[in-house]
Symmetry: C3
């Protein structure tokens, strides 16, 4: 129940982030729909393909398609209220990667993969939709920009395996890990934190 | 028998459309072959991966590879007779999306997916090869151009589920749906029909 | 044992080639890691997906991830010793396609595919990682450059089915085919051999 709710919340967040990027690029209605879909289901599709979970999840359950469709209609109607597009986009995208990271980790555990592979799978689930959205909209993929993005997913995903060692309910560890992703990403952007350079500085 | 024939006809149409785009870009022989292959099998490969139909279709049956190879040789030899390249390309591409849409719908039904998912699968089967062809050849993907393209596949695929309610042979409903795709696409291009705008017009 | 060793050697060669391209583009640490991973596992992932070998190989065995990680650390530390970057890159890439072509052919045989499909699978295993590396780093994909690249994989893969007709140990035929790929690629680059043109020369 909790896991399904989180999956749907992530779908909404990513669908809206897709609409915002696509409308900024002034794509037509069909283009906006496509970008919203790809952003919302891209990561989960790659994940399901890699672990052999086919037909892929969103094809077997009308919930995803319906959720995305309603989110798109809602976002298009209210886009003018979302005055600060860039800021809204950032917020929805950040919530999305937090939720999707743990959905991916969960699926990895179900497929009995090693913890490190679960973390990879969570990171791909979280990042791939946004990367595809940015490539299709001709933006530099978020994952390759300076600030910490995928790193937040990796650290958050790993933190779940730490938290789950504690004598707490699994759902608490799960939610704590989601918050770790979101908080690291927020801190990184607010304070402009980036990874250390591997190149020698010019004199 | 009918379904297989249609699959092969679609393969020929898309392979030739791939050769035409690749030769306009003056790729070398190997490049032309690659583009023809990707255009012809790209959509079906994505479809087979999403529904877990592996090894993917064209790997288990020499017919596809042989068909593509013969189509490429034929197209390269007769390319100079196809004086009006752009027009030929449009024709082969339109026939291709009509045929492939219904091949995809058929596979979706075999996998016992919901009708709406079958329509999605048909649209992806029809559009993905051409999108990949255009990206590799550095053209704007057909699917993102103004005119109605994927929309024709969606409407045609959906029409099959309408036609199949009538007391007619399934193969008639199947062929009628193919014609719906082709006719909508033809009308859209000839009359320059496009989707309504979601943006407010500038005063 | 032999096959596994060759798989690991290919992984090392491609991971290092990924680091070299990524550092020439001055990506940050995370970018370098991603490119190294994608280059090393991209081809094998596509291969495993196409034949339905899921969860894909590298997810079920820590060896690959560990090997790539160590190769990346090693390559970053010693990159300044590899003075002639371009030449080193070419060498590692060439060794990589030789090794991966035969890993792909082997997996095709295990999936009981036809010889020609095994050769295709080997070529995709060898080429796809490098193509993705080049696209992500905004270089023209190696496969579309003038010199013979994928053709070397096709000829080498096909040569295995010739060699295996001879009364020799399978492992000899296997290694001979790897050498055929590497030698054809070396000769093609050293002597600037390219495919014959399919276009009429301007007068």
């Amino acid at each position: 129940m909790l896991y399904q709710t989180i999956d749907i919340l992530g779908t909404i967040a990513f669908a809206i982030s897709g609409v915002l990027v696509a409308m900024e690029k002034r794509l037509d209605l069909f283009g906006v729909l496509i970008i919203a879909f790809v952003t919302a289901i891209g990561g989960g599709t790659l994940r399901d393909l890699l672990i052999g979970n086919t037909p892929v999840g969103w094809m077997q359950d009308l919930t995803y398609v319906t959720t995305i469709f309603i989110s798109v209609v809602f976002a298009i109607i209210f886009v003018n209220k979302l005055k600060y597009l860039r800021r809204s986009l950032f917020l929805f995208d950040t919530i999305g990667i937090g939720l999707y990271t743990m959905v991916g980790v969960e699926k990895g555990l179900e497929a009995e993969l090693l913890p490190i592979m679960c973390v990879f799978l969570g990171t791909m689930t979280a990042c791939f939709g946004g990367v595809t959205r940015d490539i299709l909209c001709n933006e530099i993929p978020v994952i390759f920009r300076k600030e910490i993005y995928a790193t937040a997913c990796i650290l958050g995903g790993a933190s779940y395996f730490l938290f789950s060692q504690f004598p707490i309910k699994d759902s608490y560890a799960y939610i704590a890990a989601i918050l770790v992703v979101i908080i690291i990403r927020l801190i990184a952007v607010v304070f402009g934190v980036s990874l250390p350079s591997i190149y020698k500085k010019a004199a």
